[in-house]
């Protein structure tokens, strides 16, 4: 239908062999994307990006204004009027540092358990033959569709009431301790390692722990980053569970103390948004920065396979 060459289209495939090159050239001619369509696509994606990013921009701008201005002009303030007062204000109410420390302990505990135990089970699932391996893998898939919210009542009864772990970091960490998506990502990466390497090392008398530590782990470092990144998001952003289990403000993660601040103060204060947005910025910043720095590890294939199995 169209012969307009569209350079943007299939550069992606990166032709390496002459064959592929020819195929790509032919493909380009018949790819059927007109210049107009390419432009429309660009505009749609660009507008989409604005819709997705604007609230974040607005969060930071609002946090830096003494009293955030909800008019259109308020979205583009004079840089001279920006101030950090709101961060000081919100810190007086909810103690950002202790919130960040608690979020850090919660997230760190989950990451530690996920990396240690998740790698062990991922390795066992991919590299070893034992009865129940299939069932364990099926379980790891199944767990991902179990809604955590269904478990809120029984887990609350068990952890807060029966075990008396309310207002403790352990109680907070326990239900999230091993991230099943990370387990599946580990298994997937271990499966891709050449089996011969492990056979050879086994014949040389290396134990499984040693195989895992000195051969498998160094080879799956990207999977570790992906899994850590993915696991990090969960507890750092989690609200419901720590909210249920921590009543003591000194132990609340930042998401919980900020949420409490929003729900109690929002109604009573005149213009609470400056302080709320400042708190929101502090809560959002670590994840957004980590994500931008490591975004190349956040690739569709890993996560796709992680979720689909």
């Amino acid at each position: 239908m169209t012969t307009t060459t569209n350079l943007t289209d299939d550069e992606l495939s990166g032709p390496e062999t002459p064959d592929a090159r020819i195929r790509t050239l032919r493909h380009r001619r018949v790819s059927g994307w007109t210049r107009t369509q390419t432009i429309v696509r660009g505009v749609v994606l660009g507008l989409g990006a604005v819709v997705f990013l604007f609230p974040f921009y607005y969060m930071v701008v609002g946090a830096l204004q003494k009293s955030p201005d909800p008019t259109i002009a308020g979205a583009f303030p004079n840089p001279a009027n920006l101030t950090f007062d709101n961060f000081v204000n919100v810190n007086e109410r909810i103690n950002l540092v202790s919130g960040l420390v608690n979020s850090g302990i919660f997230t760190g505990g989950v990451l530690l358990c996920t990396v240690v135990f998740g790698v062990l089970v991922g390795y066992a699932l991919a590299m070893m033959k034992w009865r129940g391996a299939r069932a364990t893998f099926a379980l790891a898939l199944l767990v991902q569709v179990i809604p955590f919210q269904l478990l809120q009542i029984p887990l609350y009864v068990l952890i807060a009431r029966d075990y008396g772990l309310a207002d403790t970091h352990i109680g907070m960490i326990l239900p999230f301790a091993i991230n099943s998506t990370a387990v599946i990502i580990f298994r997937q990466y271990f499966l891709q390692l050449p089996k011969e390497l492990f056979e050879a090392a086994r014949i040389d008398g290396a134990g499984e722990i040693r195989l895992l530590w000195s051969i498998a782990l160094p080879l799956v470092r990207p999977a570790l980053v992906t899994a850590v990144l993915l696991t990090f998001i969960g507890p750092w952003n989690e609200f419901l569970w720590p909210f249920l289990i921590t009543k003591d403000a000194a132990l609340q993660p930042l998401a919980v103390s900020l949420a409490n601040y929003i729900s109690t103060v929002a109604a009573s204060t005149d213009n609470p948004f400056g302080a709320i947005l400042a708190g929101a910025t502090v809560l959002a910043a670590p994840v957004v920065v980590l994500f931008i720095v490591f975004q190349r590890y956040f690739v569709s294939n890993d996560l796709g396979s992680g979720v689909k199995g």
Binding site: S31, G32, G48, F52, L120, V121, M127, A259, G304
Partner: protein, 322 residues
């Protein structure tokens, strides 16, 4: 998928530490029961214990609670908790608030799920073809997904409050009462918020599926004279059907578990319970008002409902061949 288990491997003689050292007969019996490398079970035991303790047992416990007269007791106390049949279910569903919350979540799903599927597929297929600023675009679509809902809700509160930016821009078109305190608009705003927030994740799933579609299909469709729209409906949409099923399932499960957004965005399911969800009521009834038995009954019904929807989705969208 589980090829590891199937491929027969030459017996590894000195497989380090596989099984307990002992007489040959004992060892082979152990192997027959536990598989060739029983150490695998040991490696997996922390995870298995975790899944049993945090998922399997609580699920069973939840069902048990819903059929008994259950109340919170001090640690160590062991009061009588008699079996009460369906009493908790009757108590839960004779409360009009509970009925309404299920209706609310129905409205949410009707808006959120179709919007999520359509937008994420469209954006993913556009994103899949773009070369310039690819990383920037990817990052901007994923950022809301990776950010805490509590933080993003703060901005939406600011944007959608009575004299927020949205109403300022709309001027005389602004709804009255405003978005989040309007009982007709509160749930749709939450549905749109969640769609926006989660879209990045579903775009990610669709991108993975699109990268697996053979380019030749598009080539031959184009050679046969199919335009861009025709190719989208005849090649892309059928090609990503497994991903569509996954998006449907995950967005339904996520939607049925709505809690944070109505709790914060509409101040606990307001106005007048117009945006209350079953999970929010489970919290209010179960933990705030000390009726975990009634709350568990709501949870069990919610899960059955989700399972039915998931079954229907699987039936009508899933691959028929498999």
């Amino acid at each position: 998928m589980t090829t590891v288990v199937k491929t027969p491997r030459a017996p590894a003689p000195a497989s380090g530490g596989a099984g307990a050292p002992g007489p040959r007969a004992k060892r082979s019996l152990l192997r027959r029961i536990l598989g060739r490398q029983p150490l695998g079970l040991l490696f997996s035991s922390p995870y298995l214990v975790f899944v049993l303790a945090v998922f399997a047992f609580p699920i069973v416990y939840s069902v048990w609670i819903s059929f008994h007269d259950f109340f919170f007791a001090a640690p160590g106390a062991n009061p009588a908790r008699p079996f009460v049949g369906f009493d908790n279910y009757i108590a839960a569903f004779s409360d009009p608030q509970v009925i309404r919350s299920f209706g609310n979540v129905g409205i949410f799903l009707l808006i959120n799920v179709p919007l999520t599927v359509v937008l994420s597929l469209l954006l993913a297929s556009a994103l899949n073809r773009v070369v310039h600023a690819r990383t920037f675009l990817r990052v901007s679509y994923y950022v809301p997904y990776v950010t805490a809902s509590v933080a993003v809700v703060a901005v939406w509160l600011f944007l959608f409050n009575g004299n927020g930016l949205v109403n300022t821009v709309l001027g005389p078109l602004a709804p009255d009462p405003s978005w989040l305190i309007n009982d007709k608009l509160a749930m749709p705003v939450i549905a749109i918020y969640v769609t926006w927030k989660q879209l990045g994740f579903y775009i990610l799933l669709y991108l993975a599926a699109l990268q697996n579609l053979p380019k030749e299909l598009y080539e031959s469709a184009a050679t046969d004279g199919a335009g861009a729209i025709r190719r989208f409906f005849s090649v892309t949409v059928p090609g990503v059907r497994p991903a569509t099923l996954l998006v449907l399932l995950v967005s339904t499960v996520t939607g049925a578990n709505l809690f944070t957004e109505p709790y914060l965005l509409t101040g606990g399911g307001g106005p007048n319970g117009a945006s209350a969800t079953p999970v929010l009521l489970m919290y209010q009834l179960g933990i705030q008002q000390g009726q975990p038995d009634v709350a568990s009954a709501i949870g069990v019904v919610l899960v059955i409902g989700v399972l039915i929807i998931a079954f229907l989705q699987n039936r009508f969208v899933g691959e028929r061949e498999s």
